[in-house]
């Protein structure tokens, strides 16, 4: 919690002004009864109408100042808490943007969403509540105790009993509730997760008629959440009546001993009554403090969850003094590269060694799960090698500034991800200041131009979050255009043409050659025909390179490659040919 206070620092002024204004309001509030007594005692009882009017006006003036105090406190506490929340959210989002895939896997998307919204909201509310009540409650509490003690020291011994009891109830509940509330937040994550999976997978759910099954699953998540909330709040519900009981019983004791003291002539009746009044005031302030403390225990769970994200160690980041020299060539070299996900499983890539020259086209082929995608994902450092190294133009990619590295690389990933916005905006991801001509040029090479201009709004067609109204192949072509417009030094097509028909695919690959000179191109594909013209082909099997060479060479020397080729070549074609 303390670590998060620094996000309040820029708003120290607001955070100080809020309680100060509250002080004004409290003072005005406290002044009013005196004025009231004055009106009653000297005005009404003495029939002094002039005094009534006069004091009444003063009361109004005081009330007006009080309003300024109250509204001022509201304004500054709102500003402080909302800006605090804003900065915290920005900071969290910035951090998440740096996350690697294993960082994200650790938290899960749905939990990250909850942490950025729900948890920050809890903290924001806590800040606001504290700033609004911070002055009032302790002031009433301390004031009440001082007044009580000054009235009668002996009676005040009761506080030596009741306050430790109250404190221990507080501590006990806060300690217990931390655990309970952290369970609540976890279950909110889970509810989020079920909903998200159902939205993303709505077609699968419908296709397999699993609506009822999913409803059951949600019911479980929902019930778990409800039970957790009930369990956590149950504790809070016991607290308040318990506080009241302790304070009320203290009043009883005061009444008893006060009665005795009056009997002995050591105390006046009025004093006993005043004493009891002060105890009521103390009780009221305690309840306010208690309320906030309850909230603190919930918010500290949120604080912990937020800090977990902020303090997460990012496993892929810039080295200190990373090399910012731009990448000029596209020479790529793998040296004894091993890779395994999460460092625990068997290596997905084993001892990968190869070297390709600038401007070459490299095909990568292999069985399902042989590590083709993994291999190309290593080049823009979406993952870091477990051992060995990758060099671009002789430089270890881990020494190159991440931004510089990724600026030089363009990639069309396997699963096409487009963002909400227009088609034009999506293509411009590759180059923000692209001219209209450039956009059209790359769309044409990606064989996307024709279908785009046939859409009612053309390049300004808005595509939904996942671009659902476009077909898989259309999305792939937009993603290719997006990658091409960047004019990269290294282009990676990770099975990016799987939803395209052969003719379109060939047109794209031919177009590529023309536009991007000196661009090293990696093409991961299932079809030999896709990469037959590649300068070099890497054949992968179970994470190892089992063949490296041109199509003709491999066909001659490599059994594995020949087998793949044969599985694809069609005897029928031979017949017709």
């Amino acid at each position: 919690m303390k670590k998060l206070i620094r996000y309040l620092k820029p708003y120290t002024l607001f955070a100080i002004l809020a309680p100060l204004f509250m002080l004004i309001e409290v003072i005005c509030d406290l002044y009013q009864p005196t004025l009231l007594a004055h009106i009653v005692d000297n005005g009404i009882l003495k029939n002094n109408f002039q005094l009534i009017l006069h004091t009444g006006l003063i009361m109004l003036a005081v009330a007006f100042i009080g309003v300024i105090g109250g509204v001022g406190c509201t304004v500054f506490s709102s500003l402080a808490s909302q800006y605090f929340g804003r900065d915290l959210r920005n900071e969290l989002f910035k951090k998440v943007q740096q996350f690697s895939f294993s960082n994200i896997d650790k938290f899960h998307t749905s939990s990250l969403i909850t942490r950025l919204t729900n948890d920050v909201n809890q903290l924001q509310t806590l800040v606001m509540m504290s700033l609004r009540i911070m002055v009032r409650a302790p002031l009433l509490f301390v004031g009440g105790i001082i007044m009580a003690i000054s009235l009668n020291k002996n009676l005040s011994i009761i506080f030596l009993f009741s306050i430790p009891i109250l404190a221990s109830i507080f501590l006990f509940i806060m300690k217990k509730s931390f655990h309970l509330f952290s369970e609540v937040q976890k279950r909110i994550d889970y509810v989020n997760n079920v909903v998200r999976e159902n939205l993303v997978g709505i077609r699968v759910v419908r296709a397999f008629r699993r609506e009822d099954y999913e409803k059951e699953r949600f019911k479980y998540a929902n019930t778990m959440l409800m039970n957790a909330v009930i369990k956590a709040i149950m504790l809070m519900i016991i607290a308040m009546p318990l506080f009241m009981l302790v304070m009320n019983l203290s009043i009883l004791v005061v009444l008893w001993f006060g009665g005795l003291l009056v009997n002995q002539g050591n105390m006046k009746v009025g004093e006993v009554m005043a004493y009891i009044n002060y105890m009521g005031q103390i009780m009221f302030s305690l309840m306010m403090i208690g309320n906030i403390l309850m909230f603190v225990s919930r918010a500290s769970v949120s604080a912990e969850r937020v800090l977990e994200v902020l303090e997460e160690k990012i496993d892929i980041q810039n080295k200190e003094n990373a090399d910012k020299t731009p990448i000029r060539g596209g020479k790529v070299k793998f040296e004894h590269v091993y890779f395994s996900y999460f460092n625990k499983e068997e290596s997905v890539l084993k001892d990968i060694n190869f070297e390709v020259n600038s401007g070459e086209i490299i095909g990568i082929i292999g069985t399902t799960g042989s590590g083709k995608s993994t291999l190309v994902n290593l080049i823009p450092r979406l993952y870091d090698v477990t051992s060995g190294r990758i060099l671009i133009d002789g430089r270890d990619i881990r020494d190159i500034d991440l931004k510089i590295l990724r600026d030089a690389i363009s990639m069309v990933p396997q699963d096409t991800i487009l963002f909400s916005g227009t088609i034009k905006e999506n293509i411009c991801w590759g180059k923000e200041d692209a001219t209209y001509e450039e956009i059209i040029e790359s769309a044409k090479i990606a064989q996307a131009h024709e279908f785009i201009i046939r859409l009612p709004q053309g390049y300004d067609t808005v595509i939904g979050e996942r671009g659902v109204t476009l077909s898989g192949g259309q999305k792939q072509r937009i993603a290719i255009a997006r990658a091409l417009i960047k004019k990269p030094k290294i282009l990676i097509l990770d099975d990016a043409t799987s939803a395209l028909d052969f003719a379109t695919e060939q047109k794209i690959i031919h177009g590529l050659r023309g536009i991007i000179k000196n661009c090293t191109t990696f093409i991961v594909a299932q079809r030999v025909s896709t990469m037959m013209n590649a300068d070099k082909i890497i054949v992968l099997d179970k994470g190892k390179i089992v063949g490296f060479g041109s199509h003709a060479e491999l066909l001659k020397n490599n059994d594995f490659y020949r087998e793949i080729y044969k599985s694809q070549i069609d005897e029928e074609v031979m017949k017709y040919a």
Partner: protein, 608 residues
């Protein structure tokens, strides 16, 4: 009630914080929303009635305590007669104990009731998701829907559990005090109620604003949720394109908007308390003024006026509370509006003349089918074809031609605009979607797996399948080998979005899932596009077995996959331009011939 219809945020920009333009959003019918919310509360009326009764009792006990203390002082301490004082204290202790107990009980019942209510609301919302047409989800950010089911429903629950008791206890107290005031002096009571219209006007004035600010706040929170969801799902692309800073900027802008709206919502709602205080003091000044005058004119005794003034002080607290709670309820209305927006979306309806079917043969016919996602832009144009029981139909054609759409129409993910789709001669709109889909096995273009174990993912195809059957299906899909090589085998829990497995492996699992479903009609939409060709070949053999006796739709770009189909439909630009068997189409030397030859021409060259 809507005086401020034209200016939902009370003037341009406001003077707080930097100038900012908000998207103007406002609740159109707050009272309607409130009514709907009440309809929900009604389902739990006994809980609420019980709570209200308890609130009533505890309000009374709250008065009895201080009254008893006063009595105690009068009868025992002042006369210094302590006979029975202990008994009296015991009674007082009993009252306190009872009061605490009722306080607890009240909280307990309220907690249970609101949590149940929230549970039901969440359930209804989730169930609603599954009654909405697929179209609904095509253009909505997931994050926004998630935000509704968590943040908005949470907000409602918070307001209910905090405000409802307060609201009711304030009303009880208020009524009690008014009764006491009337008993003392009716004219004075009238005087003290003079400021009430002003109070109501001010409360209304503010809450009309806060309501829309709260609504904007929740809407923006939903948008922010959407952005976060989109950006985490798409982080790969963001990284590759170095878009982090841009996305952070986009986030910061939306976040700023949320903050500015939030500040305004908080300031307006937080100002209600102090402003009410001012009004109360005004009212108080009026009361003393008139009181003094009445006393001067001897309309009222001085003692009475003193007591009356004391009551009018007490009067203010519940009024403050009421104004405050009324305002908090606005925030619940804002959230409820977002919930009901979804709950009231039009559901997918089943036809009124449903045909009950137990089993189908699997004959599929398209009769002059037209379909468009966006009105006026048909993607399927006058498509007709007929597939006999057990036949394999291959859909080929360039991307975006409408192949996937045709498959989606068979599954009734969407309904046709014009024309008919018939299964065994029955219009599929007369078959319940669930019944229809029970005969279908679908492997979709995007492989979607759930974050459970591999075993459970395959079992999704048929929930009552035994482990043996699951493994059998995995073997047929050629997934078995790679699965058993994973450290946890079939119990490997897939990370979100199936990460960790390759795309091809995920496809194999989704094929196993469809195999397990054992359907009458099989739809394979690019089912093996990311699978290597050798594995594909193995699967194909298995598929050939599987397809026996089933009607199958196969969409593929590898023409070798489709060659053995009974009928090939060449789809181009939403129309079927050629149809026939492979041999027929080759002889025809049309579109298909060119497509086929172009794919293999180069391969043949190399081979020669």
């Amino acid at each position: 009630m809507r005086r401020e219809g034209m200016r939902p945020f009370g003037g341009p920009g406001g003077r707080i914080g930097p100038r900012f333009h908000f998207e103007k959003v406002e609740i159109k019918d707050p009272w309607g929303t409130l009514r709907k919310l009440f309809a929900y509360l009604k389902k739990f009326k006994w809980g609420f009635i019980f709570v209200f009764t308890l609130t009533f009792i505890s309000s009374i006990l709250g008065i009895v305590g201080p009254y008893l203390i006063g009595r105690g002082i009068d009868t025992y301490i002042i006369p210094k007669k302590f006979d029975g004082f202990l008994n009296f204290l015991l009674i007082l202790g009993g009252v306190y104990l009872l009061s605490s107990f009722i306080g607890w009980l009240q909280g307990y019942v309220m907690l249970k009731t609101t949590q149940k209510l929230v549970f039901v609301m969440r359930r209804d919302f989730f169930n609603k998701i599954h009654s909405l047409p697929i179209k609904f989800f095509d253009l909505r950010p997931y994050g926004d829907i998630i935000s509704r089911i968590t943040n908005d429903i949470d907000n409602i629950s918070m307001v209910l559990s905090n405000s409802v008791i307060q609201f009711f206890s304030s009303i009880t107290t208020l009524i009690g005090i008014i009764i006491m005031m009337i008993r003392i002096s009716i004219p004075m009571t009238v005087v003290s109620l003079v400021t009430i219209p002003l109070t109501i006007w001010l409360t209304n004035f503010i809450s009309n604003r806060t309501r829309n600010y709260f609504y904007a706040n929740q809407t923006l929170l939903g948008k922010l949720n959407g952005l976060i969801e989109e950006d985490i799902s798409g982080i790969k692309v963001i990284k590759i394109f170095n878009r982090e800073e841009k996305e952070i900027k986009r986030f910061e802008n939306l976040n700023e908007e949320l903050t500015q709206v939030g500040v305004r919502a908080q300031i307006f709602s937080g100002s209600i308390g102090p402003l009410m205080n001012l009004l109360n003091n005004l009212s108080f000044a009026i009361i003393t003024g008139f009181g003094g005058y009445f006393a001067f004119k001897k309309f009222i005794s001085i003692g009475d006026i003193t007591v009356f003034i004391n009551y009018s002080r007490q009067f203010t607290r519940p009024i403050n509370e009421l104004a405050n709670q009324y305002n908090m309820i606005q925030s619940a209305i804002a959230s409820a509006e977002r919930i009901f927006e979804v709950l009231e979306e039009e559901e997918e309806k089943e036809s009124t003349d449903i045909v009950e079917i137990k089993d189908i043969r699997g004959e599929v016919e398209f009769k002059n089918v037209w379909f468009s996602y966006v009105k006026g832009n048909p993607v399927i144009k006058n498509v007709s074809f007929n597939v006999k029981e057990g036949e394999v139909v291959a859909l080929v054609g360039p991307t975006g031609a409408g192949k996937t759409t045709i498959a989606s129409l068979v599954a009734r993910f969407y309904d046709v605009d014009e024309g008919q789709i018939l299964i065994d001669g029955i219009d599929i709109r007369k078959i319940r979607r669930k019944d229809l889909r029970s005969f279908l096995g679908i492997v979709l273009q995007d492989t979607l797996l759930f974050s459970t174990s591999i075993k459970e993912n395959i079992r999704y195809g048929r929930l009552d399948a035994t482990d043996e059957e699951v493994i059998e299906a995995a073997k047929l899909a050629h997934a078995h080998d790679f699965i058993i090589n994973l450290p946890q085998g079939y119990d490997t829990v897939l990370s979100e979005d199936g990460g960790g497995l390759s795309q091809g492996q995920r496809q194999l699992i989704s094929i196993a899932r469809a195999i397990l479903a054992n359907p009458k009609i099989l739809i394979l939409d690019e089912a093996t596009s990311n699978v290597d060709t050798m594995t594909e070949k193995y699967i194909q053999n298995a598929m050939l077995n599987l397809m026996k006796g089933r009607t199958s739709f196969v969409i593929a770009h590898r023409l070798s996959t489709v060659r053995n189909a009974d009928m090939i439909l060449v789809v181009y630009n939403g129309e079927i331009i050629e149809r026939g068997t492979h041999e027929q189409l080759i002889i025809k030397k049309g579109f298909y011939y060119n497509l086929y030859m172009s794919q293999f021409a180069e391969e043949v060259e190399v081979k020669d």
